[in-house]
Each structure stands twice: as structure tokens, then as C-alpha cells.
Symmetry: C2
Subunit: 337 residues, 2 copies
């Protein structure tokens, strides 16, 4: 089965058309298509068009509000809150971004609380948008119970990614975005689809036994990265993206989700820091470049995100290729089938 070549504009147009045909209003479809296209452009395929059928399923089941109108409030001098109105996360993030950035510049550090959203995308996209404005940023989100706590054998945590971004003097910011699972859910899903085995340590089967079979892991549980330390990170994400802000823990999302294949309701926490307010306004950019240079001078060492940025250069003009089965499915969903 051959792949379908698409320019990024075509990716965006296809996503927009498919979402609009399934109940998204213009603002939501645009924000979501921007997010999907950014993922495709960096060749993060597990967060690109691959997710579109899940988004559509959540619209068709009525779980997600395709016409969500997220509202922004200041709930403390350094805290902005967006009520996502039951929609997908991207529009809520777009609405919260400038208020968060403004507060970070005014106060030095600020937080953005997002509730009643459905998050199904990569976090680096929202972190990079802040870092491109010269801010240091964090994002945390939980999901459904997919990953065992250290010592456990059943899904309990979400894959619970943490993303962190730092501005650079030139070029794209340094941004990492990593699941606290040993492997991102999307990668396990793609391995299951394609029949690839996974390395040891990624997950357990339904009996709690280690396995390298992706389908068995999907039926069992993923494992945290780095043993109990990754498990602690996952716990921190549950607290920040749910306990702190009054949203659902991953285990609660699993209990309440309708399992339509789309993202469960949940929350997200972002933090933004203005480095110009932290005591080294003149020096911080150049100083940190010396760290990056020293890292990159070592054989075998890369900066997080470098591969994505290299991919971005390639796809800007060269576009991407989409598996034909996925492309056919999306075209069908756009036509209402």
C-alpha cells in the first residue's frame, strides 16, 4: 500500500475539511488543524493525522463540543484559567496563551490552568509557542489510566507528558516533550498497527508479565520510564494537571470516558517564566548558548528537539507522506462516511 504525498497546506486543508464536516466550528477546526499540521511538519506522525479519526469519533459520539467557546478568567494575580467548554484543547490553548505570556512578563512567573478540555496532541506545540516569545515554559497533562505506577501491574497513570521550553538567540527554541511512560502511547499504537515488536521495559501484558508485543501491551499496561523515578514524575503530573486544578485524574477519566477512541476530558497546567525578570536579563541567552555548544561538541550528544527541527526544514517544501489507508479513512470521514 503506497503512501499519499501531501504538502503541509494540503494536510491543513484536509484536516479542516474533515473536522468541519463532523461538527467543528471554524475557530475550533482551525486551531485543531494548526496543531495537527505542526505535528505532521515535524514528522511527529503519532500526533498528526493519525489522531484525526479519534477526534472525529469524539465529535460524532457527542463527547466533545465542536463549537466550544473557551472563556478566560484571572483567578489570582499570577494565575489565568481557561474553561474549555468541553472542547478540544487547541482553541483553549490559543485563547489562554497571550494572557499567560502577559502575566509572565508582568509578574516574572505565571500559570495557566485549563479545565474541561480534551487533549490529544503533543505538548511541545504550545510550549514552543511561548518559547518563541522569549519565555521559558512548562506544560503538564494527564490522560486515561494507561501506565502502571512503579511496582504495580495495572494501568493507573496517564502517559503524562512533561514539556519544557527555553528560548534561544536564534533558530527554534529548545523544547522537549516526553511521556512519563517509557514510550509514548501513540508510538505503541503505531507499533501495534504495524505489527512491530517493542523493546523490553515498555509494558506488561494483561497478566502483569513483561512483553515486547505492542498489542499485548495495549491490552495490559505500559510502564513508566526509568522505574520509580519516572513513576514519581507521572504522579507529579496527575497532581498538577488534575489535583491542583480540580480536573480528573487519569483513573477517573478512564472510569468516566465513553471509550469512543477520542481523548477523554481532562485538564492541563502550563507555567511561563520571563527570564528577563530572574536576575540575569543581559546574560541569560548567551550564557545558555555556551551550555548548548558544549553539549553539541560531544560525539553522540544532541539537543532535545533537534530532530524535529531538522524534519521541519525538510517538510516545509517537501511536504509529508500519509499512509494510504489513513488518507482514505480521513477522506471518507470528511465525506460523512
Amino acid at each position: 500500500m503506497s503512501d499519499v504525498p501531501l504538502t503541509l497546506d494540503e494536510v491543513h486543508a484536509l484536516a479542516t475539511r474533515c473536522l468541519a464536516a463532523n461538527g467543528c466550528d471554524g475557530a475550533n477546526a482551525a486551531a485543531l488543524a494548526d496543531t495537527l499540521t505542526a505535528a505532521e511538519g515535524d514528522l511527529c506522525v503519532s500526533h498528526g493525522l493519525f489522531r484525526l479519526p479519534g477526534y472525529v469519533a469524539a465529535l460524532r459520539s457527542g463527547k466533545v463540543n465542536g463549537a466550544a467557546d473557551p472563556g478566560v478568567d484571572e483567578i489570582a494575580p499570577s494565575v489565568v484559567r481557561v474553561d474549555g467548554d468541553g472542547g478540544f484543547a487547541p482553541l483553549a490553548l490559543v485563547r489562554g496563551r497571550e494572557p499567560l505570556a502577559e502575566k509572565a512578563r508582568d509578574q516574572g512567573i505565571a500559570a495557566l490552568v485549563l479545565v474541561d478540555i480534551h487533549h490529544f496532541a503533543a505538548l511541545w506545540i504550545e510550549v514552543e509557542a511561548l518559547a518563541e516569545q522569549g519565555l521559558c515554559a512548562f506544560a503538564f497533562t494527564a490522560s486515561k489510566a494507561l501506565v502502571a505506577a512503579a511496582g504495580g501491574t495495572r494501568p493507573f497513570f496517564g502517559t503524562n507528558p512533561v514539556s519544557f521550553g527555553w528560548p534561544r538567540r536564534s533558530g527554534p527554541p529548545m523544547v522537549f516533550d516526553q511521556a512519563s511512560a517509557a514510550m509514548a502511547r501513540g508510538e505503541v499504537m503505531i507499533a501495534a498497527r504495524d505489527g512491530h515488536d517493542l523493546p523490553p521495559g515498555v509494558g506488561l501484558d494483561a497478566d502483569g508479565k513483561p512483553t515486547t508485543n505492542a498489542k499485548e501491551i495495549l491490552a495490559g499496561t505500559q510502564l513508566p520510564f526509568g522505574g520509580y523515578k519516572g513513576s514519581s514524575v507521572a504522579l507529579m503530573v496527575e497532581i498538577l494537571a488534575a489535583g491542583l486544578i480540580g480536573e480528573r485524574f487519569s483513573f477517573e477519566a478512564s472510569e468516566r470516558d465513553n471509550n469512543d477512541g477520542g481523548p477523554a476530558r481532562g485538564g492541563e497546567l502550563m507555567l511561563a517564566i520571563d527570564p528577563r525578570r530572574f536576575g540575569d536579563a543581559e546574560g541569560y541567552l548567551d550564557h545558555t548558548e555556551t551550555l548548548f555548544e558544549k553539549m553539541l561538541a560531544q560525539d553522540g550528544v544532541r539537543l532535545p528537539g533537534d530532530r524535529r527541527h531538522a524534519n521541519r526544514e525538510t517538510t516545509r517544501d517537501g511536504g509529508v507522506t500519509v499512509p494510504k489507508a489513513l488518507h482514505d479513512q480521513i477522506v471518507g470521514l470528511a465525506a460523512g462516511s
Copy 2:
């Protein structure tokens, strides 16, 4: 060689006497003795009296100012900065704690920048002190180049711990404190001292080859936990505890430190969040207890810090035991030898 039993009061008195005899003024000796005693009390022996000879070495070499008088400034509406005056971290942390807590309560979130300090202790101690006041808190600090970046074979990052704390309705807060190295430096040092082998993955020898020999690792490099993900966490800590605040990266600290065995000059970043300002003031404590209960209902799963808290119950009345060689060394240092 037998161990020497000490009550925690005796630990505190011994540490205070030894520090005072080596150039610490009363305020610095008290803050440092509190920190060492807290570590001993939780049986974090690698951060307890085990570190005292290093503190003394740094006083005797003149690297650290035993009479440091840390000054506190507000540098942005949500950012407090403490200039540590070249002293050990504990007194700077004590001076910054209330201003940070007050700002977090006023603003919702706040940051504490610490510069020109020498940090050699566990981070959970300062995080727990904030969490006991009902705040959610983070701490980050770098050190000297001890840990390779993912893909590298030479020390580059510090062990770069991250600590996170969350208040609970009753009992001690949930606090974790974990090196972004696969193993904390102090544990590797103790294994080298006692001749114990370490698990695979902890470090490389001086030729960049994997080894389980603790002495070879000390001569080579430690490795990050969880591969490239732990390496990303270590990079984030370098940025937060040095790049953001104008202090030394771990590789810079290595270049400039006098290698007297005590802690190098560096910085620390703390963040504090008041959960009552994040949208679920009525519910957050009870809600998060449901998460903890659900975790603990699983066989084999524990909360981070539970072992420390159990140790604390034991040592409160039962005291601790200190290796005789270490005790003799400290008594000697207190007597000026």
C-alpha cells in the same frame, strides 16, 4: 568497626560544634545542623553527617563563607532573590522561605532564586518545609559535572536533583527528591567507600565503558536515569538553576571549583504554588487523597517519601547510628585536627 548510637539532639549538637569550630557563625551552623539532622532523622545517610567533612573542608579552604549573611530582594512581583553571600545553602533557604511562601499566597505562584550558594544537601528538606505550610513546591539545583548527557561518555551535567512536594490533609506532605542521575552521588560515594558493586546502568568507567564498580564510576562518569529522558530532565535543571538565574552550569562549576571536597558554588530555583488559588480551593486536598488511596491500594506500590517518613518515626525516639570511623573523624574535626 562498630557504629556509634546518637540521639538526633546529639547529632545536631555534634554538627553544630564541629561547624562552629571550623568557622561557621551561629546562624549558619544552626541552619546547617538542622539540615544534616533532618537527613539523619529520615535515614538519608548520604546527606547526613556523611557530608560534614566536606562542609568542613570547604570552610577550611576558604571557599565557603561560614559567616555568610544572605540578603533577600524582590526582583519581580512574583520573584524573590536571595544572594547567598558565598555561604552554604541552608541559611539562604531559611531566609528566602517566608518571602517565597508569602508571594505564593498573594500571587498564586512565585519563584525563589538563590545565587552564590554552596548546596550539598537533600532538596526534600526545603520542599517539605513549604509543603508543610500547605503549598505545592518544586526545587532544582545543579552541581559539578558528574553525569554524562545521553549519548555522551564524559561527565557534563550535575546529578541535578528535582524535588516536588504536595500538602496532605494529615501527616507529612508527599515529597519526592530524585537525582536526574540513575543514582544519587552520595550513594555512589558510599558504595565506593564500602566496596559494593552497583547495578548496570549507573555509570561508565574512564574509558567510557559500562561498569558496575563504584570507584571506576567515580573516576569515569555517572549516567542519567531513564536514558535520554533523564538527560532532558538534567538539561532542564541546568537551565533553571544556572542559565535562568545567572549562576554556574555544572561544567562551569567543575572548571572553577577548588576540589576541596566540599560543594561548589552554584544556584537553586524554587517554585511555590498556593493550591487555594488554582480553582479548586474547597476540593483539592480531599480529591488528591483519593489518588493516593487508589495508589496505595495496589500491591507493591508506595508513595514517594513513605520510607523516609517511616524512618522518621523510628529515629525520633530511637536515634541513629553513625559509622565509628565517620564519628571519630567528625569529633577530630570539631577538635581542630
